[in-house]
């Protein structure tokens, strides 16, 4: 089903088209909204407001971006304003955040405490549920913008261009946020695996 067809069916009152959209995007929308607001209940509200805005704005959808990125962009704008009202919004992170703690390198910048080997072992049991849960928790603990980028890129599988379009940020900014977010999640995983 192309975006144009879907939009045409939505305008003509075809409920099955709307149900199809809801089944495709609602869960992802709530997950993304949680980057900006403090509770799941609020995230569901943001998603519901987004659907109404999408329906009211159908005539303005021009197909310059995909329906998916258009819906996500509306959601992000609503999530940001709701989050600001809830005073959750943190100041823009401009700190110099290292991917790996400095103390793990010697004065020359070489590893003094190198990573132990687990990458291959974990790949062999990727379906490992508990580790996926740890990773999910690590994403929930990320600062808002890192969480949004990691959610869209790595959880939803959007391209970097789509992510920039949805969040209205530059490619360079997107890469910094992705780098910091992924680095933090890797560090959490390392901590978790060290316990075993």
């Amino acid at each position: 089903m192309s975006d144009d067809d879907l939009v045409r069916r939505l305008r003509s009152g075809d409920e099955s088209a709307f149900v199809e959209l809801v089944d495709t995007y609602q869960s992802s929308m709530v997950r993304l909204a949680q980057a900006f607001v403090p509770s799941r209940a609020l995230a569901e509200e943001v998603a519901q407001d987004t659907w109404l805005a999408v329906l009211k704005g159908l005539d303005r959808f021009e197909g310059r971006s995909s329906l998916k990125t258009w819906i996500f962009r509306i959601l992000v704008n609503r999530g940001r304003s709701t989050g600001a009202r809830e005073q959750r919004t943190t100041p823009v992170d401009i700190s110099d955040e290292a991917a790996v703690e400095r103390r793990r390198f010697d004065a020359g910048g070489a590893w003094s405490d190198p990573p132990t080997h687990w990458a291959d072992e974990v790949v062999e049991r990727l379906s490992n549920g508990p580790l996926v849960l740890k990773v999910r928790a690590a994403v929930s603990g990320l600062p808002e913008n890192q969480r949004a980028v990691v959610t869209l890129r790595d959880l939803e599988g959007l391209s970097s261009k789509e992510v920039c379009d949805v969040l209205e940020i530059s490619e360079a900014n997107q890469r910094v946020l992705l780098h910091r977010g992924r680095s933090r999640v890797r560090a959490r995983l390392e901590e978790e695996l060290a316990k075993r």
Binding site: G13, E15, F18, V19, V22, D23, Q26, S27, S28, V30, R31, E44, Q48, W51, L52, L55, K56, D96, A98, A99, V100, R102, F105, G108, G109, A110, W111, P114, P115, T116, H117, W118, A119, D120, V122, V123, L126, S127, L131, V132, V135, R136, V139, V150, D154, L155, G157, S160, R175, V176, L178, H179, R182, S183, V185, R186, L189, E190
Partner: protein, 85 residues
């Protein structure tokens, strides 16, 4: 930390900051060569890159929570109201 042009061989502390740019394919050819040369010689950084790739694979397995039947029904009602308005 963003690395300016790498004049000489890179060290581990720099290599870990280049991982995302490397995976995104935005390093210059010269920096890509230096990064890969460093990894060939450095077991720790080779493992580090593998861990980041594993992390990305795990992230790809995180599923959103299922839509509840109540929420789904509520949204269908929303659509009906929208059509009537």
């Amino acid at each position: 930390m963003r690395m300016p042009t790498l004049r000489r061989d890179i060290v581990c502390r720099q290599a870990v900051e280049l991982v995302t740019d490397y995976l995104e394919g935005v390093l210059s050819r010269r920096d890509t060569r230096r990064f890969e040369a460093h990894l060939q010689a450095c077991d720790g950084c080779e493992e580090y890159l593998a861990q980041v790739k594993t992390t990305i694979s795990l992230l790809g397995r995180v599923q959103p929570e299922d839509l509840s039947p109540e929420t789904r029904q509520g949204l269908i009602e929303l659509y009906r109201q929208f059509l009537e308005a």
